[in-house]
Symmetry: C2
Subunit: 340 residues, 2 copies
């Protein structure tokens, strides 16, 4: 049985053209963003250049830079400034990822061996520190204090989200509210900041900023719900890491949080066993996948993700029609369709 029919069905319905069209629109700015990485991720400490190249040549979806650049385009900004901030949000995102990978003892990320596996935890702690500070230093270039404040706020929230998640690691009683609190901080905040920051460029656009902030928050929440679904529904090949990684790491996500109160003690025990063991020795991946398919909670989470996608789109109605607005309207669909 396909554990997630709506998601698979959606993918067949759509054609690739909107993604290609909007990526083409952003191509010069995205290329300029990559150029910023190449220029700034240098240091006279040899390890930094080497590890940075590995990290940034290794790819990644560049979702946050793309959202920032689209919001900038919506507000008709066209300068080096938004390119800098696009690079900065990706740097902050990458710094959080590599520190999170230490904590999760992750071995694979985007199909690549993680930095902590390659170089050890000590170098990875320092590389993350270096990336965070380099991000702030780069952002300072344009003398916009409000942008720096927003970046600090988002970074603090992300760290707090990871702390909350870590403190509830292995807990079978994580609530829906706790889950949303964690993903709001860990993911939605940086999406919100990415969409909001162009409104802080001169001339400021507080009216647009408020809407774009809400748009980004809803989109980021949708993104994380889809991320958590993919851990059940995608293949290892698509994800670039094993499926059910979250559960193995002791993290309950929404499909299981919704499932647990509906199943009997024996079946709850299966989930509890994996949380306790941190591996699939006593309970197989297949048993968990079958269990989670049985009650339809994947479809429920998919519906919730679609609701957040719709909420995001609604925030855009204030803006006059434009190619950038079309792209921002399409972004939630792109997020819902993604398989990796």
């Amino acid at each position: 049985m396909n554990p997630n029919p709506p998601l698979a069905a959606r993918q067949e319905e759509t054609v690739a053209s909107p993604t290609a069209r909007f990526l083409e629109m952003l191509a010069p700015k995205l290329a300029a963003t990559e150029e910023v990485f190449i220029q700034h991720l240098e240091s006279d400490v040899p390890f930094i250049g080497q590890a940075s190249e590995y990290l940034f040549a290794g790819g990644g979806k560049r979702m946050r830079p793309a959202m920032l650049l689209l919001s900038a385009r919506l507000l008709e900004r066209d300068s080096d400034e938004e390119v800098t901030y696009a690079a900065v949000v990706e740097l902050i995102h990458t710094a959080t990822l590599i520190h999170d990978d230490i904590i999760d003892h992750a071995t694979l990320r985007r199909g690549q061996t993680t930095v902590n596996m390659l170089w050890g935890n000590s170098l990875t702690v320092l590389l993350g520190d270096w990336l965070y500070t380099t991000a702030m230093q780069m952002a300072l270039k344009h003398d916009n204090l409000e942008v720096i404040r927003r970046l600090c706020d988002a970074t603090l929230k992300m760290t707090e989200g990871e702390l909350l998640s870590l403190q509830r690691l292995g807990a079978i009683d994580l609530t829906v509210d706790e889950y949303f609190d964690i993903i709001e901080r860990k993911t939605a905040q940086l999406f919100a900041a990415s969409c909001f920051i162009p409104s802080l460029m001169k001339p400021e656009r507080p009216d647009a900023g408020e809407l774009l902030e809400r748009y980004g928050r809803a989109l980021g929440t949708c993104f994380q719900l889809v991320d958590d679904l993919l851990d059940f529904t995608a293949s290892e090949n698509e994800l670039g890491k094993p499926v059910l990684s979250d559960l193995k790491e002791g993290k309950l996500t929404l499909p299981l949080i919704l499932l647990l109160p509906r199943i009997d003690a024996d079946r709850r025990q299966l989930i509890e066993t994996v949380l306790e063991d941190g591996n699939f020795g006593r309970v197989s991946r297949e048993e968990i996948l079958e269990l989670v398919s049985s009650e339809g909670t994947l479809e429920e989470v998919q519906t919730m993700a679609e609701k957040f996608a719709e909420d995001a789109r609604q925030e855009l109605s204030f803006f006059p029609p434009s190619e950038a607005r079309d792209a921002l309207e399409f972004a939630p669909d792109f997020v819902l369709q993604r398989r990796s």
Copy 2:
């Protein structure tokens, strides 16, 4: 044989009164700095408040805040702004310490169990991230971009210093130049920034800033040389951690770097053994202490520290006499006399 007669001799020569007098002068501002810690180290994530309280109630010399506040007083600044920055430099210092303690697997710091031992590496990585970002967020309060830039620069340098140190861990062939490059980044930079930052407050004082920066760098270098000497000459009780911790962690410091080319292969082997083993199982602490006393390199390093202290003092001759200048002139003596 006393391994470090000049230091001990100096301590007997001086009376406690200058320290007490200058500390009294700074007392209101230092108390305000502690107040800033109490106010800002809060979060709705319970662990953060708990761990921050442990860290900041646990003391510390507050050398960097004191130097910043003295420089501010020299330039006749008297506002909340310098108090904020005093708190910020201590926060940055603390963040680097707790990340370094993860890397060094340190169990004791300032006589207290380290955060990594109490709460584990994962929470400690995130707590350090939170402290770094909170420091930047606090510093933003006074809308002074140049200060933020200087803080980012210093933080990057500190991270790079720790990276360089880590990459040469266990190396018996660390050179004097590499050693000074590492301590310049790891320690001298934040002292330099602390002394420099008050010159960036309005009205800016670039002339004074240049001198205070050089003063801070020389003082910071002196401070680190003394720190490295104390690892040989102080008691565990004074240090709040075991003696010869550096060597045990695989770090060669100047007394041993100067010593190695002067001794025969058998005696070099003793040092190499501890570097390799990471413990004093095959070679005792006493053997190493005796060896290092035999060639007088502790005295040579002490003389170098005194030279940096003198260099620091010389930078102050430009400033008209004042109580703050007296205190800054005394600070290098305080650093040379310290036993912990």
